[in-house]
């Protein structure tokens, strides 16, 4: 039997995402994949999945869904008040769900993107070019290449046991961005000294033009290089300066190549925080070297690694370890036969 979650309300734009089609950029396909890769990985880690397992990504207003089977889920990303069968559940922890339950994710009060991971292998739609990720612009991946619709059945696999369930949680301090660190981009030297200074000194904020392709920032326009460029490959977090002097930070669904000069690239550790920032919040760009960028990324990843180690150390703790898989099944059968 194929198990699934039925979408009762799709929310604003809920899509199936994994780590994307990085290997198919050579053919011109956008990378896609989860926007906030930290929260996405964390959700998978909480339910004992490989970190690139496909799950759901939602924007601002999350979905409502009904489960056809038992499973474990974790909700991460933007702050919200989700309920399971009308009872509040915590974010950033593994939650046991029984068949027939209704999950209402609700509105996000902080942040932009949220994630739901499902235990035992996540969402099992057929990969397209090696990825389940939905790219709305090309109509690729997910279910029929679109955002989830009312009535969609999203295939998952039943899961009845979760090692060290009670330890599978993490408390995260919300990151309010002030400084966004970047490394010099391939075209940094094409910009004037005045443009360099202005870029680092002035305050920017994210404009309303923000989506999975890119975030356009508003600020005083920069002086742009005269010379036009041949298109080059793009990278997640590249800061392009468009002809009118305003920056666009390139995101997951960006085109694989671009012809605007790239003044810098947002460091990976800060990119996830920028992605979760709403329009109107002011911040400054601060230039760092690659070593510092790397240190910050390693520190961010350490949060995940430490969490993983904690789960591992608690793997024999009650209530449910892998050995009890059969007994859970038996208990269930007894319950059903009554």
């Amino acid at each position: 039997m194929i198990d699934f979650v039925k979408i009762l309300n799709p929310g604003l734009s809920t899509t199936i995402q994994d780590r994307g089609r990085t290997g198919h950029q050579i053919e011109g396909f956008p990378e896609s994949g989860a926007m906030d890769r930290f929260s996405f990985r964390l959700a998978n880690m909480l339910v004992n999945n490989p970190l690139s397992t496909a799950g759901l990504e939602f924007v601002l207003a999350g979905p409502t869904m009904k489960f056809s089977c038992d499973t474990f889920i974790a909700i991460t990303g933007g702050k919200l008040k989700a309920t399971l069968n009308n009872k509040p559940i915590e974010q950033n922890r593994a939650v046991q769900v029984s068949a027939g339950s209704i999950l209402n994710v609700g509105q996000m009060t902080e942040g932009n993107y949220g994630y739901i991971a499902f235990a035992n292998g996540g969402v099992t739609t057929r990969p397209v070019l090696d990825s389940c990720s939905t790219t709305l612009r090309t109509g690729m991946g997910g279910i029929d290449g679109t955002a989830l619709q009312h009535g969609d059945n999203v295939p998952i696999i039943e899961s009845v046991v979760m090692p060290s369930l009670n330890a599978r949680k993490i408390s995260l301090q919300p990151e309010q961005i002030q400084d966004v660190h970047f490394v010099e981009g391939p075209h940094w030297n094409m910009f004037s000294e005045a443009a360099h200074k202005q870029f680092s000194n002035q305050e920017y904020e994210i404009s309303e033009q923000m989506d999975r392709m890119g975030y356009r920032l508003s600020g005083e326009p920069l002086e742009t290089p005269e010379k036009s460029l041949l298109s080059e490959g793009t990278v997640f977090g590249n800061i392009q300066i468009t002809r009118d002097g305003s920056p666009i930070v390139l995101m997951a669904d960006r085109q694989t190549t671009g012809g605007y000069p790239v003044i810098g690239t947002v460091i990976a550790a800060d990119l996830v925080d920028l992605i979760q920032t709403r329009p109107g919040v002011k911040f400054r760009f601060v230039k760092v070297g690659l070593d510092e960028a790397m240190d910050k990324l390693v520190a961010k990843r350490k949060i995940l690694n430490d969490t993983f180690i904690k789960f591992y150390e608690n793997r024999y703790d009650e209530p449910i370890g892998p050995i009890r898989r059969k007994s859970v099944r038996i208990e269930k059968l007894i319950k059903q036969s009554k």
């Binding site: 050579i26 011109g28 070019l129 290449g145 298109s231 490959g233 990278v235 190549t257 790239v262 790397m294």
Partner: protein, 244 residues
Amino acid sequence: MDYSYFQISEQALEVVFPEQIDVQENKLIQLVARKLIEEKAVGVIGVIPAYHTLTVNFDYDLTSYHDLIDEIDTLIETSDSEQSTEKTIVELPVCYDREFGPDLDDVANFASISVDELIKLHSSTDYFIYMMGFLPGFAYMGSVPENIAMPRLEVPRKKIAPGSVGIAGAQTGMYPVESPGGWRLIGRTPVKLYDVTDPVLKYKSGDYIRFKPITKDEYFAIQAQDEAGEYQLNVIKEGGESND
């Protein structure tokens, strides 16, 4: 070969060759890009070959910037000497008709030639695919003969039919999906260039495209065949390993 490296981010670098649109240079970039992917270079998770650059995404758990550039140095060295003269030409049927190519007359006037001569000129050149991008299945190709290299429209069209073939300066190409655009349209191919249900593309960067003029009757016949899944594009291999 003259090139340099630039580290774009913690997990991406770029190999930068002289800034030019040059078939030989781009062929080397394509060759190195494909070797990195096909020979599964350790830690490489994706590559983007462009006109004069090769962007490489890598996983820092598996490799480092310095290990990777050593590996790419070796690849460039071996690839530079073994570049073959083999050409893969994908022949694409195109109906150069005013219905499909509303700018046929304008381009012919621009070049001061007849429409027939324009068709002959456009279809007698093999166009090299420097890179893919922009839209799914969109190939950046060049170069058209100089006299027909008409600049793009001042005001782009809001809607261009899939399969439309156009000219924009020295570039020529096909719109694989419906899209707005400013290219001068001179014809249309009946072959579906991008299919969401089967997104494997019919051509890749490093290949050549040869446009084959067809009549309107042939256009509709091929279209029907293609829709039934019975049409195969003609792929020609020319040349081979050089003997010197």
